[in-house]
């Protein structure tokens, strides 16, 4: 348990120091080094902690304490859960965070010191929250850190807050994920109402023992799934992720590719033992995953912003993982999560390197960069191959497992769609590579290779992206070391699965080579030929517009109705009462003419009246 605590305390201490000591924050570089030291400690501790789980020789361990004592209901306990799943994920998060923070040192070097300090404060905060999320031993604590990573994402997307687009994108990201979190929160409530606990171990035991009603379980899990869909940018909540690219590129690599967006999938893998009790929900998750994978890949086809291509690609790959969860292959999903973290973080970091050199995100303003930036180009190639799923990169193995599990789950149609998506994936990443690295014209400006602080993390990730497939045998061992070890049946995937996958990938790559390198045909002509479809893709299936419409009409509309009602009806009655009082008073005031003798007449009349009443009758 000590390594887990150290893992958390490293970034937390860094954040606390940078946050509470303004001079340190304003100094910039010292704050950065402190944050890097904190995450390095975390990476080391979590790495040491994860090794026995990878070897399959460690049992789950928990540490907990009383957080909120309650009466009349079970008290809420918080704590850490270290098992195969959380230990390996924590190591992954800490490693990528470390690489990204080192990379940022060079990438953000032109920022003002105070701004740099703020950046590293956010980074340390995010690292702490993400590690806390991974190591949570119950649903409520997961939710707590879940929201905190959301905050970290909000702050980092809006890092360049003086740009209106950055502020907008940050809001969009926060709101969209929070929409999913409404479901998450309600789901937790439902499960708590039914099972009386938030703790994973107790929840699994109670559900396994049949102590939880099926309908409540399905409802609760559906809510949690909504939360996961928001965080993992699943259709239709995917709208925030492409816009989130307004943040600095290292942030996109860390948060919006490797870690936070994968948290949704991580959560689904975590609760996978419960999902098997809700088969309809599994089907729904599968459908959403496949749909997301396909739609996002098609949207990536028409993007010219390199970061957005990668963002759509992330959405699509997360869809693959969700589909795997939905088809019962949590192990495959988790494997893909790990390899995807390597190659997608790598792709983002290389994209950052390109943007750093060219000064633009636009693919069409890049070209022939391979000559000036050989390391970046090689790394990009490694990442692209892994994303496309070419043998023997990491992506090949994990994608293959997903396809196999989908087929084994009895979804031939979904399988076909995912294979097609794999082809599209290879095409759009090939397109990005050829446009940026090779191509027919030179990039604008004077491109140059990035400094070592940037290339070194890229190189590390490139190696991992290439050889990460070697982790495949460890996945069952990791899962055997979780709190709910699955009963493994040896998966014997038909041999045509890897062949089909590879064929799709190769044809996608070949097609992109023909289109963008050989120029055998003009992509522009194709785009014109399929005009309406291309428009549909460019407008992103109008989902963004739908959200915009809901926001403007439903929220702002309702808001103004309520505001108006309050001012003119509820308050109108109050003001009307005031007005009536004035009106009546205006009539009555005439009686007070200020003449003493008129008042005395009234007194005399009253006296006579009283005398008459008292004596006269």
């Amino acid at each position: 348990m000590i390594p887990a605590l150290v893992t958390l305390c490293g970034p937390l201490a860094a954040f606390a120091l940078i946050g509470l000591l303004p001079p340190l924050r304003r100094a910039g570089r010292p704050a950065a080094l402190l944050s890097i030291a904190g995450i390095a400690v975390a990476a080391l501790a979590s790495g040491i902690q994860a090794v026995p789980y990878f070897r399959g020789v460690a049992a789950p361990a928990t540490y907990e304490f009383l957080w909120a004592p309650l009466t009349g209901a079970p008290s809420i306990r918080f704590g850490l859960l270290v098992d195969g799943l959380s230990a390996s994920m924590a190591a992954l998060v800490a490693l990528i965070a470390l690489l990204v923070q080192v990379y940022s040192l060079a990438y953000m070097a032109s920022e003002k010191p105070a701004s740099l300090g703020r950046y590293y404060a956010y980074q340390a905060f995010f690292a702490f929250a993400m590690l806390g999320l991974v190591l949570s031993h119950n649903l409520l604590q997961t939710y707590v850190f879940w929201e905190m990573v959301g905050l970290g994402s909000y702050l980092l997307i809006g890092f360049f807050w003086e740009r209106p687009e950055a502020g907008r994108a940050a809001l969009k990201a926060f709101w969209t994920t929070r929409l999913g979190d409404v479901g998450f929160a309600l789901g937790i409530l439902v499960l708590w109402g039914a099972a009386g606990t938030f703790t994973f171990t107790e929840l699994f035991a109670k559900v396994g023992g049949g102590a939880v009603a099926g309908s409540a379980l399905s409802l609760g899990l559906a809510g949690i799934t909504l939360g996961a869909m928001g965080k993992s940018a699943q259709f239709p909540f995917h709208v925030w992720l492409p816009d989130a690219m307004e943040g600095p590129t290292p942030v996109s690599a860390l948060i919006h590719a490797a870690t936070m967006v994968a948290a949704g999938v991580y959560l689904m893998v975590r609760v996978a033992p419960l999902l098997s009790h809700a088969p309809e929900l599994m089907s729904a998750i599968f459908a959403i995953g496949v749909l997301t994978a396909f739609l996002a890949a098609t949207m990536a086809l028409v993007e010219s912003d390199i970061k957005r291509v990668l963002a759509f690609s992330t959405v699509s790959q997360l869809g693959f993982m969700m589909a795997a969860v939905g088809s019962g292959g949590a192990g495959a999903a988790y494997f893909h999560l790990l390899t995807h973290a390597f190659f997608k973080a790598l792709l983002f970091l290389t994209a950052g390197s390109l943007i750093h050199a060219v000064g633009s995100n636009d693919l069409f303003k890049m070209g022939r960069l391979a000559r000036a930036m050989p390391v970046t180009a090689a790394c990009f190639a490694a990442g692209a191959l892994a994303l496309a799923g070419i043998v023997p990169t990491a992506g090949f193995f994990s994608k293959d497992e997903i396809l196999a599990s989908v087929l084994a789950g009895g979804h031939p149609l979904g399988f076909a769609l995912l294979v097609l998506t794999a082809g599209i994936t290879a095409f759009y990443i090939g397109r990005a590579f050829f446009l940026a690295m090779l191509g027919s014209h030179d990039a604008e400006g004077h491109a140059h290779e990035s400094p070592a602080a940037m290339t070194a993390p890229m190189a590390v990730l490139a190696v991992l992206a290439l050889v990460g497939g070697a982790l495949a045998p460890s996945i069952p061992r990791l899962f055997a070391g979780t709190i709910a070890p699955p009963a493994f049946e040896p998966e014997t995937a038909p041999v045509f699965v890897p062949i089909l996958g590879t064929l799709a990938a190769l044809s996608g790559l070949a097609l992109s080579w023909l289109a963008y390198q050989r120029r055998s045909f003009d992509p522009g002509a194709v785009r014109r030929a399929v005009g309406p479809v291309a428009t549909l893709l460019e407008r992103r299936y109008f989902v963004d517009d739908a959200f915009e419409l809901v926001y403007r009409r439903a929220y702002l509309g309702l808001s103004s109705v309520v505001g108006w009602f309050d001012r003119y009806v509820v308050d109108g009655l109050v003001n009307a009462a005031t007005w009536m009082t004035w009106l009546v008073a205006g009539r009555l005031r005439g009686m007070q003419n200020g003449r003493v003798q008129d008042a005395l007449y009234a007194v005399a009349a009253g006296l006579v009246l009283l005398a008459w009443l008292a004596l006269g009758r």
Binding site: V144, M148, E162, L171, A185, G193, G563
Partner: protein, 513 residues
């Protein structure tokens, strides 16, 4: 128990003594006036921390009790005592009072009178929280409510609101949005509520005299009497409406935006931060505590109105352009969560409700400090005329985000603990669907709060604008103190939950279930 024999009397009388000293001080003695005010705030802060530390949660019940008969023939006595519910609220009052003194540090106009009225108001608040005699409680209640009229009327700020169409001349005539309008509206509303409360208390006094053998205003004595049927329900409704007005229940909430917008910083801090809690506390203590049967029968009404409050307030906030109105509407929404927690009649929900009183009190005090700082530095209240302020006031922007995050229920800050406990309570109550609008309300809060953050602080600075400066000097005190409290209560809820659970258990013990 016997930490100090007169802990509660000291708490109540310290600000009163400060008020008396202020009364005789000369107007010019600026430094001395502030020193006396700080002392008047520091003593209760100390005593309330002592009360929290030494309140024995295992023992439950009312502790630190003091009882001296005043008018035995009428059953009137100086009877003080706090239970697990009142102790956290005492601390809340002390925190807000202390920071309010620092927030108004720069008040130069009639500083003596300002601090005098502030101290009187606080005396009333402490008095309500510690009184176990309903008549004395009512007196303190009036003392808490009335000084606000002067505070707004003299030190407030105006921003006339244009009525649309045919309302234009009417709004001008009545002066909607002006400080006189706000002060008058607030005071009239709250006094109308007091009338309900007084009738309720007198009804109890009369009706309780029979079963008890002699008339008494004593809370503990009355709590042994059962007021059943129509009488109980009528008294409950009197208390609910009377105190509820102060708690901002729909549709009697409209004094809050106008009043809080017009009030000076310390005024709205005290009022939204503590006095609105006084209303909820009144409903809880007198309504739920003394009339459990009626409360059980009418919980549906309380819950329904609370749900309306949550959603209606949150939606109403989205329409506001004036930053102070925005915060005031968010208070209306958040007080709905307090009332929802009460209506759940579960121990988790009730604990969450009181937790929300504390959390929202601190959060809204921070908000009002911030918006007043923004107002004083930029001379604007209209958000649409702001933008890019984060460049020149990064500190204020940071604290504004912290307050906003607490209000939208971000974990790690006090608001989350409170809201989540209330929703847990709601989900396990007789009306589980209440949790849904509650959670949705938190979502809507995220919409308007973060939109406000973006409008005010983010984006490019408006061209030709003079950059408003950041906070400096004493102004930081309240910001740092209040946000530290938010974080502390967000990560370590046990601090308050131990006494709260004891208090709630006492209260619920009277609900036969």
């Amino acid at each position: 128990m016997s930490v100090m024999p007169h802990l509660l009397s000291m708490t109540v009388l310290a600000p009163f003594a400060a008020a008396l000293v202020l009364f005789v001080l000369p107007e010019r003695a600026g430094r001395l006036i502030r020193t006396v005010s700080v002392l008047g705030a520091a003593v209760p802060l100390l005593t309330s921390i002592l009360a929290l530390r030494h309140y024995d949660a295992a023992l439950r019940g009312f502790q630190f009790v003091e009882a001296y008969p005043l008018v035995p023939r009428l059953g009137l006595s100086w009877h003080l005592g706090v239970d697990g519910i009142a102790v956290p609220l005492l601390l809340l009052t002390a925190i807000i009072h202390g920071t309010a003194v620092f927030t108004s540090w720069t008040t130069t106009e009639r500083a003596k009178e300002f601090y005098l009225f502030l101290a009187l108001l606080v005396t009333g608040v402490y008095g309500v929280f510690v009184s176990l005699d309903l008549f004395v409680l009512f007196l303190f209640y009036e003392l808490a409510v009335l000084p606000m009229y002067v505070l707004i009327g003299v030190w407030g700020s105006s921003m006339e609101i244009e009525g649309r169409g045919p309302f234009g001349s009417l709004f001008r005539k009545i002066g909607v949005g002006g400080k006189d309008y706000g002060a008058m509206k607030l005071t009239l509303y709250l006094l109308a509520g007091s009338a309900f409360i007084l009738v309720g208390i007198l009804l109890m006094w009369v009706a309780g005299a029979g079963p008890m053998g002699r008339p008494s205003f004593d809370y503990l004595a009355l709590s042994h009497v059962t007021f059943s049927g129509g009488l109980g329900r009528s008294i409950f409704l009197l208390f609910y409406v009377g105190f509820g007005v102060l708690a901002g229940i729909w549709p009697f909430h409209t004094w809050s935006p106008d009043g809080h917008a017009a009030a000076p910083a310390a005024g709205s801090m005290m009022h939204a931060g503590v006095l609105m809690k006084l209303g909820a506390y009144g409903v809880l203590r007198l309504g739920f505590g003394l009339l459990p049967q009626a409360a059980q029968q009418l919980a549906w009404l309380v819950g329904l109105v609370a749900v309306i409050n949550i959603v209606y307030g949150a939606l109403g906030a989205g329409w506001q352009k004036d930053i102070k109105y925005l915060i005031a509407y968010s208070s209306v929404s958040h007080m709905g969560i307090v009332m929802l927690g009460l209506a759940t009649l579960t121990s988790v929900g009730l604990a969450g409700s009181v937790y929300q009183m504390v959390a929202h009190g601190i959060m809204t005090a921070l908000f009002f400090t911030l918006v007043n700082l923004v107002y004083h530095k930029s001379h604007r209240r209209d958000m649409t005329a702001m933008g890019g302020f984060a460049r020149s006031m990064p500190g204020i922007a940071t604290f504004f985000v912290i307050a906003g995050l607490s209000s939208l229920g971000l974990p790690g800050l006090a608001g989350f603990v409170a809201e989540f406990l209330v929703f847990l309570g709601a989900w396990t109550s007789a009306h589980p669907w209440w949790a849904i609008p509650g959670v949705v309300g938190a979502m809507i809060t995220a919409l308007y709060v973060l939109r406000a953050v973006r409008t005010i602080f983010l984006g490019p600075a408006r061209p030709g604008d003079e950059a408003p400066p950041d906070a400096h000097g004493v102004e930081w005190v309240s910001l740092v103190a209040l946000s530290s409290c938010l974080v502390l209560l967000g990560v370590w809820p046990r601090l308050l939950l131990d006494p709260l659970n004891a208090g709630v258990a006492d209260l619920l013990a009277r609900f036969g279930s």
